[in-house]
């Protein structure tokens, strides 16, 4: 099987996924991660207070 190495897998992604699709995927994941972890807007920050405690990250 040609896909049985990490290098082979990377090559497969290059064939299967267009740069646009890849950019969209990465962008949406980064955006969601940013909102969850780094958005310091008081409304969002306070709403996520219990969430951060449940994850074990504290910011006060």
């Amino acid at each position: 099987m040609t896909t049985d190495t990490v290098h082979g897998r990377i090559e497969r992604v290059r064939i299967d996924v267009t740069p646009t699709q890849l950019t969209l995927m990465v962008a949406s994941i980064v955006a969601a991660g940013f909102v969850l972890l780094f958005l310091q807007d008081p409304m969002v920050h306070d709403s996520m207070h219990n969430f951060r405690h449940a994850v074990g990250v504290t910011c006060h």
Partner: protein
């Protein structure tokens, strides 16, 4: 093929996310709410109502599950599957789940353990975020090193001893407490009784362990299900030529 892996990761993420959302709804929110009743000094100076905070936190839990499912069990599993030690498919999912826990929570907690609400911490938020990120990096690095050492030792000892390779791999995690010791001390004072603080830390840790366990279990189940179905529609790239010449 990549898309299939990411879709499967997202499915596992939904299962893990719903489980973690339930944990926040049934355990996290009430426990944090109760702990906050000990805060006499500064009244609850939040810009949002408790209900909004509770609902948003549950949604955040589900979203975190989907996000980690896509990234860890979708993309990272796709790229690292050829080199993941394990032998059986289930073991690969659980190893990845363990590595995820160590990276996101386990390693950073060695320097900055979970805290109950209302505590005053001596380190500033910026310093703590930097150390949390640094410990995440150290956690990911030690997981990667452990995998590398495991493979090298298995090859070196001619596949004779799993135990030697597993022991060698485990020693790679020894750097984590050392790095945590270098971190500046974060002294904590708070109004919450120490027994309750201990309970909150333990429940938080159990929540994260459970979250990764559910993620990995759901993923292992989905992988097994996908592999047991004979591939009716294979990718055009690796589909064998079915045309049989008479």
């Amino acid at each position: 093929m990549f898309t299939e892996y990411v879709t499967r990761g997202a499915k596992a993420g939904v299962v893990g996310g719903v489980a973690f959302g339930l944990f926040i709804a049934l355990v996290g929110n009430p426990l944090i709410g109760y702990a906050e009743t000990f805060e006499h000094s500064h009244g609850h100076s939040s810009t949002v109502s408790d209900t909004v905070a509770a609902v948003v936190s549950v949604v955040g839990g589900v979203l975190l599950g989907v996000l980690l499912g896509i990234v860890v069990f979708g993309a990272i599993y796709y790229f690292l599957e050829p080199v993941l030690p394990g032998g059986s498919m289930d073991a690969e999912s659980y190893l990845l789940g363990g590595a995820g826990f160590i990276t996101i929570s386990g390693a950073p907690w060695l320097a900055l353990p979970p805290q109950p609400p209302g505590v005053e911490q001596s380190l500033s938020v910026d310093v703590r975020i930097a150390w949390y990120a640094l410990m995440m990096g150290a956690g990911a690095l030690s997981c990667g090193l452990a995998g590398y050492v495991y493979r090298r030792l298995r090859r070196r000892f001619d596949d004779r001893s799993r135990a030697i390779a597993a022991f060698g791999a485990t020693t790679m995690f020894g750097v984590l407490p050392v790095v945590a010791l270098v971190a500046p001390a974060n002294s904590v004072t708070g109004p919450i009784p120490s027994e309750l603080a201990t309970v909150i830390r333990a429940v938080t840790a159990m929540g994260q362990v459970g979250f990764w366990f559910v993620l990995a279990t759901a993923h292992a189940w989905l992988v097994r299900r996908d592999r047991s179905i004979p591939e009716s529609e294979t990718d055009p790239i690796d589909a064998p030529s079915m045309a049989v010449e008479p």
